[in-house]
Symmetry: C2
Subunit: 156 residues, 2 copies
């Protein structure tokens, strides 16, 4: 069982514990999936982090989002939002302004150019995800979600 992951992580010895095996399998699988996403986004010149941030901003709509709120919603925790927004700003995909009520806050919004880019990417990503995970079927994907949720409980 689980022969292929064990084969890929060519360990000389078997795993010391089931917990360790599951831990390694999770990180390994995530790394491979992210690698595929990186490849899929490369033609557009976006990194997964940048893509994730853009999607978050699209979800926030016209009112935009504070940098700290973007950080909370990112997949990978605690990136440097300031410089991430700097880069997206230089590409013309987002713009920023100070908050009116609380002048400490910087609110970022997606630009029309950024929204267009995402719209163009939507079918590509949908297709990409389907080709990666579609073969698992609804039942197994739901089980996976359930188990991932449990695996994350002690870690978040």
């Amino acid at each position: 069982m689980n022969a292929s992951i064990q084969a890929e992580i060519k360990q000389g010895k078997p795993f010391e514990s089931l917990e360790q095996e599951a831990f390694l399998a999770l990180l390994w699988t995530a790394d491979r999936l992210q690698w595929r996403l990186t490849e899929a986004l490369k033609p557009q010149g976006l990194s997964p982090t940048q893509y994730n941030a853009l999607r978050i901003l699209r979800g926030a709509g016209k009112q935009g989002l504070a940098c700290s709120e973007i950080a909370e919603r990112m997949i990978t925790r605690d990136p440097d939002i300031t410089r991430l927004m700097d880069r997206l700003g230089r590409m013309g995909l987002v713009h920023r302004g100070r908050g009116d009520e609380d002048r400490r806050i910087v609110v970022a919004k997606i630009t029309p150019k950024g929204a267009d880019l995402l719209k163009q990417l939507d079918p590509v990503i949908r297709q990409f995800l389907h080709s990666l995970l579609g073969h698992m079927g609804e039942k197994k994907l739901n089980s996976l979600l359930d188990l991932l949720d449990k695996a994350a409980t002690s870690a978040s």
Copy 2:
């Protein structure tokens, strides 16, 4: 179902597809687990990547391993093994030499100091993994492994 992951990745909208939801949950969970590992290794001054490489070299034993073989066994694919070994070498945890038969090859071996460090870490990591994932029980961990294996098939 899966309320907590969905809550944590505070999306304004629900997920577009089950595939997308599973993909995000996998990356998100892996990021959190890796973050915890990073914290656990910090007192020893090791990054997860360095720890992973050291373990691989311990598994290889006295004959050591070629850089290219280390790369194949790493959890995160394609790091710059040369410079990774440079750093571990500077710390005195590994040493390197050219292969005798094939002089293109550089063979890395773990040093006694490196082995000692790992031995010291072993109980810490075992405890760490148990506290993270032990609550899931054998059955669920096996299911998770099985599903991760399936999720990885199209990505590797």
